[in-house]
Symmetry: C2
Subunit: 206 residues, 2 copies
DNA sequence: GTCTATAAAATGATAGAC
DNA sequence: GTCTATCATTTTATAGAC
């Protein structure tokens, strides 16, 4: 039961409980800093019961990463080569920002993994992710060739969208501390700022 | 010897050895994921000898964070209210990018700490860091009032410089995996891209 | 499927010799 | 200042009853 396939109702429910608890704990402490005990307590299960569903701590972590990886890249996959360039890029930007707001734990799970050298997914980054990014970079380059957006480095354009949007989830406590308690939701201003930033960057010069 | 003051030559040398080793280990595994054993081995010292200089694992971590905090904020502190606005901002951007290139472990040490909720420095973020950022945001706002840069949200402008520059250190393995082995140094392109981005964003409209 | 009990290893920290 | 030996605790994982 390495990647458990839920059959019964109770199995599905417990696997969901464990996954949710593990997401909280791994995203807060990283893989090495997380303990099975914490996850079990967070899921309201005994430790042996948890290990009945996932044989090892690493199996839970692997399950989370591979489950989330696809979802995480959907917005980039959906960037339409046949769409209107600036609109496609701004839609991608907004969907990424929305994922930071709605799924900050998922963002921090990946942040922990990558900051710590991506030991569990380095191969995926160098194969699947690289292939997807190279493909989308080619689309961006074509849009630049056609004069529909300003010419710039397409890979670094994608990196900048990642870093700017994920920052609000990954560095949430810092953003909150700097803005102070009277500004509990930074996302409306963030969206306005980032929309302006990329619109100015990419709108073709007159 | 909580924040050890080096007196003899050998003390200074060992404290430097330990600090450097601890920086490597903490930045790779986070506080909870790091072990004293790893740090001792990395420093080529026995574990008890290491604990002769720092009484606990937490003391080493605290020593690193407080030593590095000041250095880390120097570029922002140095942004001159009386300078030429765009030049000051681009200089800040470039110094931050250079810190990512030259001190990626320090960047990842902070990234780990903050992603994991900043348990050891949350108070500093809400006091010292907030005060500094609010002060510089006021300078940016004045520049906007004077029409010397485009009007935008000053706090999110600062956040964007942080996220864009630190990304190259914190997510180094991802950047490397996506760009591939034939592009081992992303910094020249990053600097060109980011310079264009902020120049377009901030240069006042005609 | 779930539990109590526990084995086996790791980890933070200390004792005490030199 | 540095080391070997070791303690106390935490942590991963398993055994076996129900």
């Amino acid at each position: 039961m390495n990647q458990p396939v839920a059959r019964t109702r109770i199995q599905r429910k417990n696997i969901r409980l464990i996954s949710d608890a593990a997401l909280s704990v791994f995203s807060t402490y990283g893989f090495r800093g997380a303990t099975v005990d914490q996850i079990a307590k967070e899921a309201n299960l005994s430790k042996p019961n948890l290990l009945y569903y996932f044989p090892t701590k690493e199996a839970i972590h692997r399950h989370l990463l591979s489950t989330l990886m696809d979802t995480w890249l959907d917005p980039l996959r959906d960037m339409d080569p046949d769409g209107e360039p600036l609109e496609e890029i701004l839609t991608y930007l907004r969907r990424k920002l929305q994922m930071s707001r709605d799924h900050p734990r998922e963002s921090r799970l990946f942040a922990n993994e990558i900051v710590q050298g991506a030991p569990h997914i380095l191969d995926l980054l160098a194969t699947d992710l690289k292939a997807l990014v190279d493909d989308k970079a080619a689309t961006l380059t074509r849009w630049m060739d056609e004069g529909r957006i300003n010419r710039t480095d397409p890979h670094h354009l994608i990196f900048s969208i990642w870093s700017l949007t994920q920052h609000y989830a990954d560095f949430e406590v810092q953003v909150g501390a700097v803005l102070g308690p009277e500004k509990p939701d930074p996302y409306p201003e963030a969206e306005a700022y980032l929309t302006t930033l990329f619109t100015r960057m990419l709108t073709p010069d007159a």
